[in-house]
């Protein structure tokens, strides 16, 4: 009976795609500034975000992966491995850092929430074994977030 039940479960999950989301937090400083523009233009476009002394946020990152459920483990992805990848690739690089001054991808790219989502996608893409990256969502605040889904 047990074997039969297992086989049924195996048949029902095979080929079924599932989404799994893991959350992580980091706190960082940033400012918005475009070197190609005058100080006045930066202030006009970015408002108080252009203050060169910087400001900061408690960011929440949601990483959603997509994959088939392993019939033996019942997992889409090894959660601990996913947590470690996010920790190593993102949190350790971004947390308690100044994004403009200390994170290489933002030397030439303004660390808006949109660009942070894209940068995190690039950091994670291809590194999660067994699953495909589906969406990177970055909350700058509980009421403001950006999504990137790998679209060109």
């Amino acid at each position: 009976m047990a074997i039969e039940a297992n086989r049924t479960a195996e048949a029902s999950v095979k080929g079924t795609m599932i989404l799994l989301t893991r959350r992580a937090d980091f706190s960082a400083a940033h400012y918005y500034w475009n070197d190609a523009w005058s100080a006045n233009e930066n202030e006009r476009v970015f408002g108080k975000c252009s203050n060169r002394n910087g400001h900061g946020h408690n960011y929440t990152l949601e990483v959603t992966v997509e994959g088939e459920i392993d019939p033996v483990s019942g997992f889409v992805v090894d959660l601990k491995a996913l947590k470690d990848i996010i920790e190593r690739e993102v949190v350790q690089v971004y947390d308690h850092r100044h994004l403009n001054l200390e994170v290489p991808e933002f030397e030439r790219m303004i660390p808006t929430t949109e660009n942070i989502a894209i940068a995190i996608w690039k950091r994670l893409d291809g590194k999660i074994s067994g699953a495909r990256l589906h969406r990177v969502r970055v909350y700058e605040m509980p009421d403001l977030f950006a999504d990137y889904m790998g679209e060109v």
Binding site: Y32, W37, V45, T112, E114, N115, I118, L144
Partner: protein, 140 residues
């Protein structure tokens, strides 16, 4: 690269779920306590998702100040501390949160289509009626 920006807004409003096409019994059977003739209210949360290319100069999908102004002017100021049943958008339809979601999408869609927010489109409107139920509409 195409990305999506979402922003959450709030308003508090009263409504009553009632259809003139139904009998008193049928209304009660369909809507239960939401059919209370005196109405009731919710703290609604509206989540607006805009999609577009990330501008190479600004790093942004859209101007958030303009988005805030548009939602404030067209949605929040219209519905906050109002009775939805008396709103012109619900003269012919019941102000369920499904219909509210569609009405908000319809109104905001015209703002996006007008180009007032730049080259960005309205991807989704999500309305939370309570923390346990929410509705989404992405247009047809």
């Amino acid at each position: 690269m195409r990305a999506y920006l979402s922003r959450r807004y709030r308003f508090s409003a009263a409504h009553r779920l009632h259809s003139d096409a139904y009998s008193e019994e049928k209304n009660w059977e369909t809507y239960g306590k939401c059919n209370n003739p005196h109405g009731h209210g919710h703290n609604y949360v509206v989540e607006v998702t805009a999609g577009g290319r990330v501008d190479a100069q600004t790093g942004m999908v859209c101007d958030m100040v303009k988005l805030d102004e548009a939602v404030q002017k067209n949605i929040v100021s219209r519905f906050d501390h109002a009775n939805l049943n008396l709103d012109e958008g619900f003269r012919d339809v019941v102000p369920t949160t499904e219909n509210l979601c569609i009405e908000i999408h319809r109104k905001l869609s015209s703002v996006f289509v007008s180009g007032a927010l730049g080259r960005v489109d309205l991807v989704r409107v999500r309305v939370e009626e309570t923390k346990n139920n929410s509705f989404e509409y992405s247009g047809n």
